[in-house]
């Protein structure tokens, strides 16, 4: 009679280990992200209808400047009785994120000025990140509450950091003729 107190021992054969891996059930996310996606895509669609697309680099720089100005004005100078009535000025955390975002803008401008050629994979990754930053900027344009603004600025800083890392990493690879080692910093080991 089997002893149910102990887990099923794993046979030595790799095939059994692989079967056990494949038998692991699907995981379920904490919540669906579809509603969030739908909102973002609706914003992007509306913006695309209203204005022609600018070149990516210029778009980011302009968006960052405009968004910072718009959010700052809205959060500091919302007229009483407006939808934003009762909205507090940007918190210290939000202002810190805005400053951090602007620093990353400057860093990216410096990287762009170096005009180091990047490969197709890096270019594609950069383009995708720029698109996500664009979406975030569109959302920032409509934000009225500080907690919402803070979450969006945090996301923008995150995306900008990823973009800077992608560009800086690829520049390094290119300059060092490292052959496109995508995970060049992966100093892990198995003992």
């Amino acid at each position: 009679m089997p002893d149910d107190r102990f887990p099923t021992p794993l046979p030595d054969d790799d095939r059994d280990l692989v079967s056990a891996l494949r038998a692991l059930p699907l995981e379920t996310p904490k919540h669906s992200v579809f509603a969030e996606l739908e909102r973002e895509l609706a914003h992007a669609s509306a913006a695309a209808t209203m204005s022609p697309r600018r070149p990516r680099g210029a778009w980011i720089a302009l968006a960052a400047t405009l968004v910072a100005a718009v959010v700052g004005v809205r959060l500091f100078h919302l007229p009483s009785g407006d939808v934003g009535a009762g909205a507090a000025p940007p918190s210290a955390d939000t202002l810190a994120l805005i400053a951090q975002s602007q620093q990353l803008d400057d860093m990216l401008a410096t990287l762009d000025a170096r005009s180091v050629p990047i490969d197709a994979e890096s270019a594609m990754a950069s383009a995708e990140l720029e698109d996500l930053i664009g979406l975030t900027d569109l959302q920032l344009n409509a934000v009225r509450r500080d907690d919402e603004a803070q979450a969006l600025w945090s996301r923008r800083v995150d995306l900008m950091s990823r973009l800077a890392a992608t560009r800086a990493g690829r520049s390094f690879d290119t300059l060092s003729d490292n052959g496109g080692a995508s995970l060049r910093n992966a100093s892990y080991r198995i003992d």
């Binding site: 887990p7 790799d14 891996l21 494949r22 579809f34 996606l37 996500l132 990823r162 995508s182 003992d191």
Partner: protein, 183 residues
């Protein structure tokens, strides 16, 4: 095919999604929500980051849907988008370290049979890149060439990571059993 991604999607649904039909996109999202999340969770080992990857991969899917040419299965195309997003996240982390501590079980692990919970824990103790290679090869059915291309590494990198990762996984999985047996 063992991959949970292997779901046939009607061409008409893909075409509607490519035209911007949100209801079609929602149907596609519902079909692949759990496979994308599970893949990201296995590669990154973090529920919050897996949730982010689910979001980013689905956003990419919608934006690129018009580029799908149908010369390969749709699910494989979407899976590669998810893999790329997860790899981009790993790349952003920069340094990938060996996990020495026994992590908390991931979502739902407590409800799993004990041997599956032990296997999940063992899997989560592998370094992230190694774990990704093991998962992509053994479960998703990637070839060494495909893994090498995705990671921007050599085929020998994929082979060595798989061999050492599988060996390590076995050792980690069997260790708790031995401790229990000899306690």
């Amino acid at each position: 095919m063992s991959s949970h991604f292997a779901i046939d999607v009607p061409n008409s649904l893909i075409e509607r999604g490519a035209r911007g039909d949100m209801r079609a996109f929602e149907q596609i999202y519902r079909l692949f929500e759990r496979p994308v999340y599970t893949l990201a969770l296995r590669m990154l080992g973090d529920a919050d980051e897996a949730q982010d990857i689910l979001h980013d991969a689905m956003l990419q899917l919608f934006r690129k849907l018009g580029q799908f040419r149908g010369d390969a299965p749709f699910w494989g195309w979407l899976r590669q988008i998810a893999v790329n997003e997860a790899l981009m996240r790993l790349r952003r982390r920069g340094v990938v370290e060996t996990v020495d501590e026994m992590p908390e079980p991931v979502d739902g692990a407590a409800a799993l049979p004990e041997h599956q919970r032990d296997l999940e824990r063992a899997l989560n103790r592998l370094p992230q890149v190694t774990r990704s290679v093991v998962w992509l090869y053994h479960v998703e059915g990637y070839s060494h060439e495909e893994i090498a291309e995705s990671f921007g590494k050599s085929v020998s990198f994929s082979k060595s990571q798989l061999a050492r990762g599988t060996q390590k996984l076995r050792a980690l999985y069997e260790a708790p059993l031995a401790q229990v047996a000899y306690a």
